[in-house]
Amino acid sequence: MVLEVLNLVAGYWKIPVVEDISIRVDKGEIVALLGPNGSGKSTILKSIMGFAKVFKGRIIYNGLDVTGVPANRLVRMGIGYVPQVSNIFGSLTVKENLEIGAYLRKEKVEDDVEEVLEFFPELKGMLRRRADSLSGGERQLLALARALMGKPRLLLLDEPTASLSPKTALNVFSKIVEIRDEGIPILMAEQNVLKTLEVSDKAYILVSGKCIASGSSEEILKDEDLGKLYLGLK
């Protein structure tokens, strides 16, 4: 088991927005957080990273209690995170974005940049451009690439295909599967329910901050009531 969230109550200031959430991510898995806008998917990921307030519950990473550990230490421990919005450094170049991704490593990162570019050939030839001049799809790829530069052992992705064209979204999904197959487990929030259930191993369905169902993605895909009522599937 890589990550375990136990009975989490989290939110902002004094207001909890998610309640009694328990999540488990095992080796080699893509685990999906599904649910409508405002259901608390981002809040869960943020509370793991220490960006939202944890009122109750525990977060266990590789057997260690990391509840309340600041983000920069979690990165050091091997957790990579791609937020939903503002997930690149717009005023830095593409290359600098990648270098910052490898901030904690002492040695030269040129080779790693090359390697990441092999994985994201779309970014080749863009290294010197300011990141905020990229298209939406390219930004999403850069955000993923930045996180991968840190050589994470667990990746948290917040709606990596939001507001992308269907074709670009498919490309991102295939990268995510490849990353999983490389051995990096992924916990990701998504709105693209069908496609996500196709690629993920497990899923948790959230509605207004509560987990109303969870199970293997196959089971959830088969459950017609769940699909109709909460996921907008027919």
């Binding site: 960006f51 920069n72 990165v75 503002s86 690149i88 450094f89 901030y103």
Partner: protein, 312 residues
């Protein structure tokens, strides 16, 4: 315009006018350098910590008084005194970040809270300096010989200020663009949360920036005081200019600050020429900074180079 060109080319006063213009350029260069040193720290800390630090004015003043103490009172070597003064300013900046602003921020203080706290800190520092050194005008009692470069007059002090500012600008360029720490500073100013999620220790990066910014402010204070005299309002008198430059350049942008420093000093010096022609007092000089500040906010609120995303 035609009249000006006519004057420039054919008037019997044309040599006087040529000299005048070169001198205006020279003055603009000098003041641009002073402004750059005085402002770059304000802009960087504003970009990183996301609030305008009014006590920055007092880092300028503090540096000047410390140089006065080491040099004129304790009689230390000039360069040593300046070095110690710059270090003292850095220390003051670092301490104000660690003891005041960082704790306030981590308790969720708003922009207004931080701003008011910085005004309070500024008053505290200023009045402490007045208690210790008195409120009157002090002087380094240095007499600068005049250097004539063609038709332009300057002093060794001002030449030193220019050279220093250029060296500082080059070093800052190398720091911010080439080093890991500098890139971390820019990344943190751009997007603090993503910086933390990349492993950057924001506290360390911030502390370094506060130390550096206050050190440069103190440096500018030494030049400002040696050029004329030392008063408790030394820094406060250039704070409006510093804010105008920060906003015009784009909060947190080094190159913006660099450009804006010279734009403002040139505008001011041209403004003084215009005021003289109009027969008005040159005291209206600071109105130029005010006009630049207000027009920036109206026309291009993100400044020349935007690094910090505007939060809705």
């Amino acid at each position: 315009m035609a009249l000006i060109i006519y004057f420039f080319l054919f008037s019997p006063y044309r040599w006087w006018m040529v000299i005048n213009w070169l001198q205006v350029l020279m003055n603009s260069l000098v003041w641009g350098c002073m402004y750059l040193l005085a402002t770059v720290g304000l802009s960087l800390t504003y970009g990183l910590s996301r609030f305008p630090n009014f006590a920055h004015a007092e880092y300028i003043t503090f540096g000047a008084y410390m140089a006065y103490m080491f040099f004129s009172i304790l009689g230390l070597d000039l360069y040593l005194s300046v070095g110690l003064a710059v270090l003292s300013s850095a220390l003051l900046g670092g301490l104000s970040y660690i003891l005041l602003f960082k704790p306030l921020k981590s308790r969720g203080a708003s922009l207004i809270h931080l701003m008011v706290a910085s005004i309070g800190l500024g008053l505290l520092i200023r009045h402490t300096l007045m208690q210790v050194f008195g409120g009157g005008i002090l002087s380094f009692k240095m007499i600068w010989s005049c250097i004539f470069i063609g038709p332009v007059v300057t002093t060794p002090l001002l030449l030193t200020a220019i050279v220093t500012a250029f060296i500082v600008a080059i070093l800052l360029h190398i720091l911010l663009m080439k080093t890991k720490l500098g890139k971390a500073i820019r990344a943190t100013a751009d997007n603090p949360e993503l910086a933390a999620a990349s492993g950057i220790d924001m506290d360390r990066v911030s502390l370094f920036t506060w130390l550096l910014g206050a050190a440069l402010a103190g440096f500018s204070g030494v030049f400002l005081a040696m050029r004329s005299s030392l008063v408790p309002l030394l820094g406060w008198k250039v704070l409006l200019q510093a804010f105008a430059i920060t906003l015009l350049g784009g909060i947190g942008s080094f190159y913006g600050t660099l450009a804006a420093s010279f734009i403002l000093s040139l505008s001011e010096n041209l403004g003084v020429v215009a005021l003289t022609w109009l027969g008005l007092s040159a005291d209206y000089r600071s109105a130029v900074a005010f006009i630049v500040l207000v027009s920036t906010l109206i026309v291009k609120p993100e400044g020349l180079i935007s690094t910090v995303k505007r939060r809705a």
